[in-house]
Structures are given as C-alpha cells and as structure tokens.
Amino acid sequence: MPRDTLTGSRIRERRVLRGMKQADLARKAGISASYLNLIEHNRRRIGGKLLLSIAEILRVEPAALTEGAGAALIASLREAAADMPQVSAELDRVDEFAGRFPGWAQLLADSRTRVAQLERSLETLNDRMTHDPHLAASLHEMLSTVTAIRSAASILAEPGEVDAEWQARFHRNIYEDSARLAETSRGLVTYLEADESSPLETGAPQEELDAALEKAGHTVPELEAGADLDAALAKLGRGLSGPARGLLRGWLDRYASDAEALPLDRLRPAVEEHGPDPAALSAALGADPARIMRRLAAMPPEDLPTPVGLAICDSSGVLTYRKPLPDFPMPRFGAACPLWPLYRALSRPHVILAGPVMQVGRSGAVLWADALATPQAGPAVNADPLYQAQMLVRPLPQGTEPPATLPQLGVACRVCPRESCEGRREPSILASTRR
C-alpha cells in the first residue's frame, strides 16, 4: 500500500478535531511532543506500531491516516455539509466516511456539484427571463409598436369623424409601424434562436451523445474503412462526460458491427437501385431491415438519393437516438408524440409498418415512415426479449400519391398545437389558436 506524504497532516487534523493537545497525544503514544510535532509536519515518516497506536488513540482506521481520501473529495464533502447545516452531517468523521466508502463519498460530492450546476443554469434562465436587457427591450419595442398600430387602426375602423388628411396620416403610421414590428420580431427570433444552444447545454448524457452525433453528421468515416474504434471514440468523445462516453461507446460498437455486416460498397449500389426502402433492401441484400435502417441513417449525404431521418426508442418509449429531418423534427428530450408509428411498432414487433406520415403545422409536407420493433438481443432461455423500435423517415417514395387525408402527428405534447387528441399527456405550451 503506497503511503503518501500527508499522513502527518492527517494526524494533526484528527487530533485537532478531537480537541486533543499535541503533548497529550504524544504522551499516550509514548513519544516526545517534539517528535510528534515533526511527524505532524510531515518531516518524519511514521508507520508500523506507532501508526496503529496513534490511530487507536484518535479512534480512526489506520488507513484513514495513511491513505486518507483525496483532498478535493474531502473539501467537496465539507462544502456539501456546509450547504445543509441543519442535517448535522458528522463533519468530524468526514475522513473516515471518505476512506471507508470512497464510492459513496464520490457520489455525494458529484451530486452536489451537479446540483450546483443545475442551480446555476436555473438562475441563468431565470435571469434571462427577467433581466435580459435585449429581450426586455425587444418586447417593449414590440408592445409599443403594437399599441401604436392598434390605436391608429381603431381610429380608422371605429365610427367617428376622421378627415381625409388625418386618415392619410394614420394609414401611413400603420404602414410604418407594421414594417417596424416585422423588423423587431425578426430580430427577436434570431436572437432567441442564436441563444438556444448556449446556457441550456448542461444536459444529461443522452443529450451530450445526441449533440456529439449531430456534430459528426451521424456518420463515422473511421468505422467505414476497417473499424478503428479507439480513433472514433477519441474523436467523437472529446469533451464528453464519462457516462456520455459510455453511451457513445455502445453506439460506436453497434455502428462498427453494422458497417462490417453491410459495408458501404455493398450498400451503395443496392440503394441506387431500390432507393432507401428498408424492406426492398432487406430482400435484395438478405440483411436485417433494422440494421439497414441504421446504415441508411449513417450513410454520407452524397451517397443517399434523398435525406433520411431515424428515431430509435427503447421499450419505455424514450428516444435513444434521433436524427431528425427538417420536415420531421424530433423532441430533444424524453419521448415523442405517442401517435408516431415508432410506438405502434412496439405493439406489433417484427412487422415493418410502412406508410405516409405528416407532422402538424409543417407546411403540409407528406413523408414516408418505416417502423420496426426487434429484440435488443438474441433469444434467451425462458425469458421475454426486450424490444427496441426504429423508425426511418424519408421523403414520399417516387410514384406514391399522398393520400387525401392523413392523421397528423406531433413532435411532443408540449410543443403540439393539436387541441383534441386522445394521445395528449400534458398541456401544450403553445398558445391556443382559438381565442
């Protein structure tokens, strides 16, 4: 067991915490006070019987004196205790706690850091809503302009005498103000969009993974030409947290085995012939359609006749992978609209549910979705498989007529304008279209 050089400091710390004088400890341990002083200042090494006896006198584990715990960890634990003095955490035994339960101690320290981070981003958001000068100024400007327009317009619209000269003036004012309103609102939208990415990205591992994959364009050249997992992990995983790297690792493993089973030079000619149709490609290549969907989503854009989107969810419906299309956005967190064929597939595993889909309020673009649920692993003995579902979204295949009526899907309830929907599970944050 490596003994670090701070054993003396820890002895001193424990002694002070116990309110024991140096001379008393030295006497009980059978050494001189000056020798203990040298030990406590890390100028004499200590070990063996003397260490055991000092540990016993101080009523601590010897390991707590020799190994201690990382100073940073101890400091975090102390801060955590100071944050909530009402809990009366046993501060005098913090070393013992960290020494005996290093994992739990680290968990507590990390949780505290995370809480602090979240509190900070909450404050940031709160500040932004109430104090952001740009936001406040823009809104003020818009409301003033709207007021001017409303006043002038109602003078013109309501009964009452308005001579021609004044009429012309109010018409001109309305015209000018509406141009100004358009300008301000455009500026505000740009500002809000530009700002969207900055303070909120303190996300969960899944969000980190999503962001990393989006940045990489969902394709990993390193894994196409002979799998170099480490290089891919190093490149895509830069700056990710440990848990997010774990998710990334799993994703890359699957990518690598998909790429090995269906290399690009085999896939490319088949896609050229059949288009991005998982069922047709599966028949032509003799490959698993679920794997084909993932391969299509990972193909470089220049190899695809049309862009494709892909959503993957686990049995609970939570999205574990998302590659949206402009006409088919996907929620950034949690589960999507329950009307998606993706979820229907979970109740009809092993069947490719193919058909036209459309998202409400998306310029009426009709797309095509192929959804399929398959077990996550191979058959097990006397155990039900755990399914995951995938849904490939692509432009309407050539020669397919868009149907006259089509059930409209949403992105997720919170941002869905549909008012009566049996799938709704929480209210929308969008203002009602009906007044």
């Binding site: 003020h140 409301l143 007021t147 001017a148 109602s154 003078i155 004012n173």
Partner: protein, 127 residues
C-alpha cells in the same frame, strides 16, 4: 362627462411618436386640449408649468423613468392629488405594485385600446 364641457387639459408624456399622434387625436376629438412631452428628464417641470387636469405618463421614457417622475410630483403637495394615468409595456403584478407605490391614480398596460384611454381620462378628470 366630455372634455369640452370641462375645457380639460391633458398632458401626455410619451416618447413613441405614433402613439402620441393617435392618443392626441382621440382625446382632441373628444374635446380635450392635449399637450405632449417626450423626455423624462424635465417632465416633472413641464407638469408644474402646464398644470394639466390629467397626466398620462409612460413608464419607459428617455432620461428618467416614469416612476421617478411620479414620485417627485407626489412629494410636492400641489400635485399630491393630480390624476395620473400610468402606461407600461409590462403587465406583471410587480409593475402594478410599483406604479401604485409611486402614487399612480390608474395603471394601464400596452397594448391598450383607445376607448380604455378615453374612459380613464374621463373618469380621472371627474374625480
């Protein structure tokens, strides 16, 4: 009661030219004599000089906030009862509270309607 019966005088302190134009028009048509001012810095002095029957005061003015102007006016016994209608672009209860504490007789949030302004001015002058 219409403005002409009173020969009432309204001072509108607001910096948005097209709002000024519209409010001036509707109040004038109703018989009120309307003066306007667009700067916060000397607004309190203008109120003293003009001695209007009703003041319409915007909160966000260049130079000085409407709350400060109103507080200064209320400290002066001559203007402690002057009817003041405050205009603001923020309708939170916090702003309403601030307006009340500063001594506003009435409080109106943008975007308001012409009829609301007219009713408020009539009601305030009748007090």
């Amino acid at each position: 009661m219409r403005g002409e019966d009173m020969g009432g005088q309204v001072l509108l302190i607001e910096d948005e030219p097209n709002i000024i134009e519209a409010i001036r028009f509707i109040l004038s048509r109703d018989g009120w004599q309307v003066h306007t001012h667009s700067n916060g810095t000397d607004a309190a002095q203008i109120v003293r000089d003009r001695a209007p029957d009703v003041v319409i005061l915007d909160v966000m003015l260049p130079g000085r906030s409407g709350y400060d102007i109103l507080r200064e006016l209320r400290e002066d016994p001559a203007h402690s009862d002057l009817p003041v209608l405050m205009l603001t672009a923020r309708g939170q209860s916090k702003d309403r509270e601030m307006a009340e504490r500063a001594g506003a007789s009435r409080f109106m949030t943008k975007p308001f309607s012409n009829a609301e302004v007219l009713d408020a001015v009539r009601a305030l002058s009748a007090q």
